[in-house]
């Protein structure tokens, strides 16, 4: 858990442009091979060397923390479905930090996965409610992000509902008109046979 907290700290720090300042702090607390791999991966990520960042991330343990880092790298490399897949592995592993969730929601929006977007957005909002530490210091920034994403997700939900309604309407119209036409035909045949 401590490893994860340190990783989350570094990620948030990167977001604020203070990676260099916090980097030594990570090592000062006693770096494990996983920490080193993470730091390397972050350094490559800053330089947009995505392939090397992914290669370095292989040394991160445990699996969910590695998945979290890979999700962020993949998102930055614009591989959105792969990013969401890795983010969901991290979430499944119990991670709930705001940076991971933010990337998960954004990736879901990019690939228009409404179900995943709604789920991850819910987790992100929950996370914001209990945010402490460095994240809390930037609460208004996070709130803005969540609001912005929330309107995207809401639009996607509305679009899905509208599309479903249109398909229902099309089916109902078709079945009604076909049914009516066949009904008229049946009636015509019935009266015709009675006459003859």
């Amino acid at each position: 858990m401590m490893t994860l907290l340190r990783h989350a700290l570094v990620s948030v720090a990167r977001l604020g442009g203070s990676l260099l300042a916090l980097g030594p702090l990570v090592f000062a607390q006693g770096a494990t091979p996983s920490d080193v791999a993470f730091a390397k991966s972050e350094a490559f990520l800053v330089k947009s060397a995505f392939g090397s960042a992914m290669a370095s991330a292989k040394g991160i343990h445990p699996e969910e923390v590695r998945a979290r880092q890979e999700a962020i790298i993949l998102y930055r490399a614009r591989s959105y479905d792969a990013a969401l897949e890795r983010a969901l592995v991290a979430i499944q592993g119990g991670l709930r930090d705001e940076l991971l969730l933010l990337h998960a929601v954004r990736a879901s929006v990019w690939i228009q996965d409404t179900e995943a977007a709604e789920y991850c957005q819910g987790l992100l909002e929950d996370r914001l409610d209990v945010m402490t530490g460095d994240g809390a210091a930037n609460l208004s920034w996070w709130a803005d992000q969540v609001d912005g994403l929330s309107s995207w997700v809401d639009t996607m939900i509305l679009q899905d509902a509208e599309t479903a309604a249109v398909i229902r309407r099309s089916r109902t119209t078709t079945v009604s008109v076909f049914g009516t036409a066949l009904g008229v035909l049946g009636l015509a045949a019935f009266f015709s046979s009675r006459k003859s």
């Binding site: 969901l88 499944q92 690939i111 819910g122 249109v166 398909i167 099309s170 119209t173 035909l185 015509a188």
Partner: protein, 542 residues
């Protein structure tokens, strides 16, 4: 038999047969701006017309038992004309009932399938039922006139009606739609039906005043349709229609998006979704944003050749590939471009709106099918681009088979490049995998799949007697690449952005001329795209 009266009835049957075909062939084109012209839209329209005709046959048969079948015939033809005349004007409002305001491509197939069926039912069923009733009434009248047996009268009626249909098919497709357009074609069909009704009314001296009044009303109704403009989808604010045309193949339009700087123009054909076939910007070179066209410059940079780069595009559209490549070629390399485009109207409009011009280094093969035209192209080529689409997102099956790619390979220089643009949602998309496997099998060499970030496209690369660069190996982004080209490749070495297909390990079905289920694969692709990734995970609370 009284030849004059019987021949009038048979003429009416022929005119009605021609009108039915005009309606049927125009129907798909009429719906195209909203639902496209995919196989499923065609099937729906044909199905609805067949249902209408079959109902009409029964109702016409029943009406023929009456004492005044000629009057019934006048009613059917007159009201049928009215319905036909108004089709171009009511098509839009009816189609929009069955389309959401915003349509995502992954939902489009289902919306188009059901929406086009519902719209076809509302629009074309009434006219089909009415015109289906014409045949039995004509058979009855011909039989009564000449004291003919049912089979004889029916045979004559079917002969006249089928000859009329035949003329209707050729006249509609080859002359009317490309020459006078959809609206006038349908108005002409309505006029034909009114003419038939009038012939029967006048020459058979139908006395009933109601029939006369009905005919007059139908005439006035159809006439008022002449004064009403055809309904079309509304363009978003800031997007301007430059020109629209009907060609023998499709509805074609050029639009200019003035919401962006610089203005972008795009070619749209039969578009029911937010897709495009070609784009144009004032400057030559790479397009701003996530356009797959930018990938077309990569082989010339990877090859490192000097002199001339001979490139052939199958499915040139408005010539976007040429403009992108021309402005982004490596130093010391000149583009010698040949483009094949099936639809001459697209080329004509591109010359007007997209600066497309044939000259010493640009050859345009217009009006030719991509596969047939390969035989006319003089090789060898350095680079053959396959970017052929029909009906928005459908890859023509005959341009996706191993036999086609064998032809492509035979036209390439050794180490020359084949590049295919495939619309797909991921590198493991069923249609993308199938085409990459087919290309790989044809070239007997590995194929590289690159996803276009932020777009619904993948580029498939293969080389004659060689292999494309591997994203994880050195040389993927050579150090002498300028930043604009390096930026196209950066980030594409990560998972989900590329895949590799070896001949010995195909990742999808190898498509052949005998079996190329492209539509089924595209259907699977859309179904897969609609599934939420969340479904694959058991996440707490999901």
């Amino acid at each position: 038999m009284a030849p004059t009266r019987a021949s009038i009835f048979l003429t009416a049957s022929a005119l009605s047969g021609g009108a039915v075909m005009a309606i049927e062939l125009s129907a798909v084109r009429l719906l195209a701006p909203w639902f496209g012209t995919s196989q499923s839209v065609w099937s729906n329209v044909i199905g609805v017309v067949l249902l209408g005709l079959s109902l009409g046959y029964l109702l016409g048969g029943r009406a023929s038992r009456g004492s005044r079948p000629a009057e019934s015939l006048v009613y059917l033809l007159g009201v049928g004309a009215l319905f036909t005349a108004w089709l171009p004007f009511i098509a839009g409002p009816v189609a929009e009932l069955f389309l959401p305001n915003e349509l995502r491509l992954d939902s489009a197939a289902e919306v188009f399938r059901w929406g086009s069926l519902a719209a076809s039912t509302c629009l074309f069923l009434p006219a089909s039922v009415l015109l289906g009733g014409v045949g039995p009434l004509v058979a009855e009248l011909v039989s009564r006139e000449g004291n003919l047996r049912a089979g004889d009268a029916g045979g004559r009626m079917l002969f006249a009606s089928t000859v009329g249909s035949l003329i209707g098919v050729f006249a509609t497709t080859h002359w009317a739609i490309p020459t006078v357009g959809l609206r006038s074609t349908l108005l002409a069909a309505a006029g034909t039906l009114l003419l038939a009704a009038l012939l029967i009314q006048v020459l058979t001296t139908v006395a009933d005043r109601w029939a006369k009044a009905a005919l007059l009303l139908c005439f006035l109704g159809a006439l008022s349709a002449v004064l009403t403009p055809r309904s079309m989808p509304v363009l978003p604010e800031g997007v301007v229609l430059l020109e629209e045309r009907e060609s023998p193949y499709q509805y074609t339009r050029f639009v200019e998006d003035r919401r962006t700087e610089p203005f972008m123009r795009s070619l749209q054909v039969n578009e029911g979704a937010d897709s495009y076939q070609s784009v144009w910007q004032p400057e030559l070179g790479l397009l701003p944003g996530d356009y797959y066209y930018n990938d077309f410059v990569l082989p010339a940079w990877w090859q490192g050749k000097k002199g001339t780069w001979r490139c052939l595009t199958v499915g040139m559209g408005a010539g976007t590939a040429k403009r992108v490549m021309e402005g982004a070629m490596p130093p010391g390399l000149t583009l010698d471009y040949t483009g094949i485009e099936l639809d001459p109207v697209v080329v004509e409009l591109a010359e007007k709106w997209c600066d497309l011009k044939a000259d010493g280094l640009t050859k345009i093969l217009s009006g030719l099918d991509g596969r047939a035209a390969l035989g006319l192209v003089e090789g060898p080529m350095d680079h053959i681009l396959v970017d052929a689409y029909a009906n928005q997102v459908e890859i023509p099956p005959h341009l996706a088979t191993i036999e086609f790619f064998n032809q492509v390979e035979s036209l390439l220089e050794p180490k020359g490049w084949c590049q295919v643009n495939v619309s797909g949602f991921s590198v493991v998309d069923p249609i993308v995998s199938a085409i990459a496997s087919t290309v790989s099998a044809a070239f007997e060499a590995p194929a590289l799949i690159l996803r276009v970030p932020g777009a619904r496209n993948c580029s498939v690369f293969a080389r004659r007697g060689g292999r494309p660069p591997v994203p994880t190996e050195a040389g993927w982004i050579p150090s002498d690449f300028p930043e604009s080209i390096a930026a196209l490749l950066r980030g594409r070495e990560v998972r989900g952005q590329w895949d590799w297909v070896e001949v010995s390990h195909p990742k999808g079905i190898v498509l052949t001329d005998d079996l190329a289920p492209v539509e089924r694969l595209q259907q699977l692709s859309l179904e897969k795209a609609r599934q939420s990734l969340l479904g694959a995970f058991r996440v707490p609370g999901a």
